[in-house]
Symmetry: C2
Subunit: 234 residues, 2 copies
DNA sequence: ACCTGAACACCGTTCAAGT
DNA sequence: ACCTGAACACCGTTCAAGT
């Protein structure tokens, strides 16, 4: 309680200084950051517009001049998170020069899970579909589709080169996304302990599950590049 | 608005009749059912204790005589849903007499996804971990663990019989659950359309993704029972 | 052009009174 | 033993006033 009050006072004072000239400056961005902070501190769903306003040093009604409603605020937060997510995935893949399409698919999964573990708060917002308006955000759809397209491209290439065991490509992308998304959700929602996975082991266990899936995609007749990939991942 | 008022009046009248003798009768159960109805009608997270009370024909404070708080109400709903879920999974597996352990694992996945599609509301409550107290409910943990144990048993048997491709069993159960849970969540949260899957195709597509995963587990050296299983599933 | 702060219609939860 | 209904401390959102 005392900590909260102190924080609020500090924020108010800071904002007041700025506000003497231009009210606040960049309240929109300040609200996004305040919201992210609040999510980090407590439950994602318990975040309050009023609390975000207080944290940013403005009154309860101020946020609604920049966001039509709470959902729009949360969506803006998700957009920033998704932008970073996409950027990191793309940059991680750019670093993988060697390896066939399935090795690169494995790298994609690694980057995905790695990001989730390092940025649980951001992932929480992205996947909180009842708090954000995913379909209504072009930015969210675009970034998500880009990741999707990368995966589809890698799988198509894998099939062209005869790397895949399955003769039907159609169900593969859905299965791949479901696996990685399911792992991420289980991690975020705290399901892992009941599967005998402690917090320390979480990333390792998820990466192993993902690797198992990718290995399962590979044709037994294909080149024995699997072991090489496994070693490189260490 | 007028529809709501009408519903409320009817419920009040009905409850009033019963209450002349024993207040309500079984308010606890009535609240659980009312909550389920409300979730079916709108968003799961938008459900209100007050609305459930109204629907059950009692005043706003009445629910708190049967549930300490909103979370407890939602948890009770989840317990009932999970009980049915477990029962259906077990009974579906009991019907599978032929087939090796991986065929039965496939049947488990089929039953899981089938139930999710037929009972989206129930699955929504079960997996809404921020609305319920999963760890605090022995019933939820027990039912969930039983499903988990069945899966673990089938996988252990599969390994014993040399059906598995992987030499390490450890990551397999997590991957299997993540795959099926991820598919379910994607379905519930409306991710499927962006993967080119319409509502009609949803169950088929999910079942295909799950089948692909189970197939990927099987040792290439094993008996060619795969095609037989695939045919039987049609 | 942007923010304040009162106001409104909600919530979850409590509790003294009623039956 | 169980329910009512007022009350409290919250919310999201609006809007007339202020700067």
């Amino acid at each position: 309680m005392s900590a909260r009050t102190a924080t609020k006072k500090t924020a108010s004072k800071r904002a007041a200084v700025r506000r003497s000239s231009y009210h606040h400056g960049n309240l929109k961005q300040a609200l996004i950051e305040a919201t992210l902070q609040l999510i980090e501190e407590g439950e994602a769903e318990a975040v309050t517009v009023r609390a975000a306003a207080k944290r940013a040093g403005v009154s309860s009604g101020a946020p609604f001049r920049h966001f039509p409603n709470r959902t729009a605020l949360m969506t803006a937060v998700a957009e920033e998170a998704m932008r970073r997510f996409r950027a990191e995935i793309v940059s991680a893949l750019d670093k993988v020069v060697a390896g066939d399409a399935l090795v690169r698919l494995h790298a994609l999964g690694t980057a995905y899970l790695r990001w989730v573990v390092r940025n649980p708060t951001h992932f929480k917002v992205i996947s909180a579909r009842d708090l954000i308006d995913f379909q209504g955000s072009e930015s969210l759809r675009r970034d998500n589709q880009e990741i999707q397209a990368i995966m589809d491209g890698l799988l198509a290439e894998a099939q062209l080169r005869g790397l895949l065991r399955a003769d039907d490509l159609v169900p593969v992308p859905l299965a791949a996304r479901a696996l990685v998304y399911g792992l991420a959700r289980m991690y975020i929602d705290g399901h892992l302990p009941q599967w005998g996975v402690t917090a320390n082991q979480a990333e390792t266990a998820m990466q192993a599950a993902m690797a198992l899936f990718v290995d399962g995609l590979r044709s037994p007749a294909g080149p024995p590049e699997r072991r090489a990939k496994a070693r490189r991942a260490k």
